[in-house]
Amino acid sequence: MKKILTLLLIFIAGFILIFPLINADSIQPGYKNIWINNIITNSGDFPNYIFVSYGHTGPFCHIEIVEENGKISSNYYKLCTLSVYAIPKDNFNQSEINEYNNGTFSIQETENYLQSIGAKEVIKNIKLSSEVSKISTKESVTRSYTIDLAKTLQEPDKVEVKQNSLIYFYIIVPLIALIIILSIIFIKKKKK
């Protein structure tokens, strides 16, 4: 018995040491990628500004206009470091934006351009996706931001997680099992 327990303890120690090493930049086996919906809840409060998102990191991290309902585009490469800028309507020029999106401008040049037209960074470090276990009940995540032109937000005000129907299995199956187990224990005690 002592030998088995000693072996078990050695095994547990090894297991604890190995498990944290499992980490990769790509999607790990057994995991899935879920996209995050990012929304500005009060974009209508700033009629004199156009909101755009920019991914900073490189190709596929272009500039996109935030939709009228406040939805920030998720049409980006997942590793883009997304920010939202408020651009005064008078300074906004769609053709210039297109030039920066289609041309071979560096990240620094694009950032300088945004600065030159008075763009204020109102949100930064926006998460675009999240990696969850394949059997996770998480279906989608919506992060809502209430912006203030004087601040740069880094965290959303509200995070809503939509769960899929698997959540019912996770609750109902253990509940039924528990009822049966308790019934068995109760009957056994009664028989005594």
């Binding site: 078990l8 547990i12 297991f15 790990q28 394949k134 609750i171 253990p174 068995i184």
Partner: protein, 105 residues
């Protein structure tokens, strides 16, 4: 689909360990109790893991719950229950880890 396959693998592995540990019990009783214990712990473990992570804390909680259920259902002492629960859960976790590594390499 992953849900059922994951459950089935865990159940079958733990069943073998239960059969070895409780040789004197009736086969159907072992299958039924093992199924009940796993039906209770497996979905809960996965649910909490998908929400919060904390693999070791959840695994420890499951081991403790299984110890209690083994004592109550099989009417055995806590030492045997501890051993069965530890071996069963470490084996299933290790096999899960092995499958994970095989998928990577």
């Amino acid at each position: 689909m992953n849900f059922f396959i994951g459950f089935l693998i865990t159940f079958l592995i733990e069943l073998i360990i239960y059969f070895i540990a409780f040789k004197n019990e009736k086969n159907m009783k072992i299958v039924f109790y093992c199924f009940l214990i796993n039906s209770f712990t497996w979905p809960l473990a996965n649910f909490f893991y998908s929400l919060f992570g904390f693999f070791y804390i959840i695994e420890l909680g499951i081991i403790l719950i299984e110890i209690l259920l083994i004592i109550l259902l099989f009417k055995t002492n806590w030492k045997k229950a501890l051993l069965v629960s530890l071996i069963a859960n470490i084996t299933t976790a290790s096999i899960g880890l092995l499958i994970f590594f095989l998928q990577i390499f």
